[in-house]
Amino acid sequence: MSDRDDDVYQGVARLVEFDAPPGDLVERIQFAIAIEDIDVEAARWARMPALAGVRGDGNGTITFSVDDLTVMVNLTRTGEAHRIDGWLVPAGEHAVEVRVAEHGSTATTADESGRFVLTDVPRGTTQILVRLAGRLSGTVVTPAVVL
């Protein structure tokens, strides 16, 4: 008997079919990579264990990090939009761009302590880009997350 005809293998094949990536993942990735810069460092989402699985409730703190930079953002819902209070470590007057799918982007510059504020940011699939200033160079991008 060929293994491919095997019941257990067929079951595994069904499992693999069932365990498909979330329907919107491809679209989110396509959004995330549709950026001008290609020489980017991808920051990883450092989710706290207590927050695992909790996403998109509109409030809370999210941390992304990569070797050169940690990006902390605190979200506050304000009606249909939200306010983003951000903090970049190491501090510096880095340029910050927040892209929201179908809503264009909002840009600002962090102050010398690495803090930045953006108000009235539309909710949706969101990505943050940080163009590093000072001794650091390059662009750090976060994954596209639904905020």
Binding site: V8, V12, V16, P21, P22, V26, A34, D39, E41
Partner: protein
């Protein structure tokens, strides 16, 4: 017609991916979208097979594709894309596991899914139960086996010819390592059955 056919049209497997990579190097962003659409299931299953829960797998899949952006110009052999994706995903999955937030028992995920379902017909419920036993047994396999079996299923599909090429896994054959993984799975399943009188 203003648009000529894209250079990857009509190509399959690694030739198709190579044509997309070359087009992407020349600034064709559509080419990357094609790769993302066609190969995200591969990256996903490598992440899941390496012990990540769904949320962490999503993060890792995005990280891998963002990492590809800077490698578009650096991958010396565009045909080797599938191999690069698999290796990079394994490394990122390992890193996510080291962070310690990435693992949820598969059985917990299943329980959540089942609880959220409406009542279903008996035949379907039976099949569901069989599948659950299988999933739980599958999640106890060594990660190497989980990844291999997931990739074997993908490689068995015509559109994943490049996966079977990258793994040197001729379509229609399973090979001794995969056979051993299936045997381990059978043993885990029959152990479970032994528990229930």
């Amino acid at each position: 017609m203003a648009d000529t056919n894209p250079p990857w049209e009509g190509l399959d497997g690694s030739d198709r991916h190579a044509a997309c990579m070359v087009a992407a190097r020349h600034g064709n962003r559509k080419a990357l979208d094609v790769l993302v659409a066609e190969l995200t299931p591969l990256v996903w299953h490598v992440a899941r097979g390496n012990g990540l829960d769904k949320a962490s797998a999503e993060d890792v899949v995005q990280t891998v594709w963002l990492a590809l952006l800077r490698h578009v110009d650096r991958l010396t052999e565009p045909k080797a894309l599938v191999g690069w994706l698999i290796t990079t995903t394994r490394r990122e999955s390992y890193r996510a596991r080291q962070n310690g937030t990435a693992q949820v028992e598969l059985s917990t995920e299943l329980a959540e899914q089942v609880l959220s379902r409406d009542p279903m017909p008996e035949a379907e419920a039976l099949r569901e139960e069989r599948d659950q036993d299988l999933w739980i047994a599958f999640s106890r396999l060594p990660r190497r086996c989980q990844e291999l079996l997931r990739l074997t299923v993908l490689a068995g599909r015509a559109e994943y010819q490049a996966v079977s090429e990258a793994l040197r896994m001729p379509r229609g054959s399973i090979g001794p390592t995969r056979g051993r993984c299936l045997n381990t799975l059978r043993t885990l399943l029959s152990d479970d059955e032994g528990d229930v009188p």
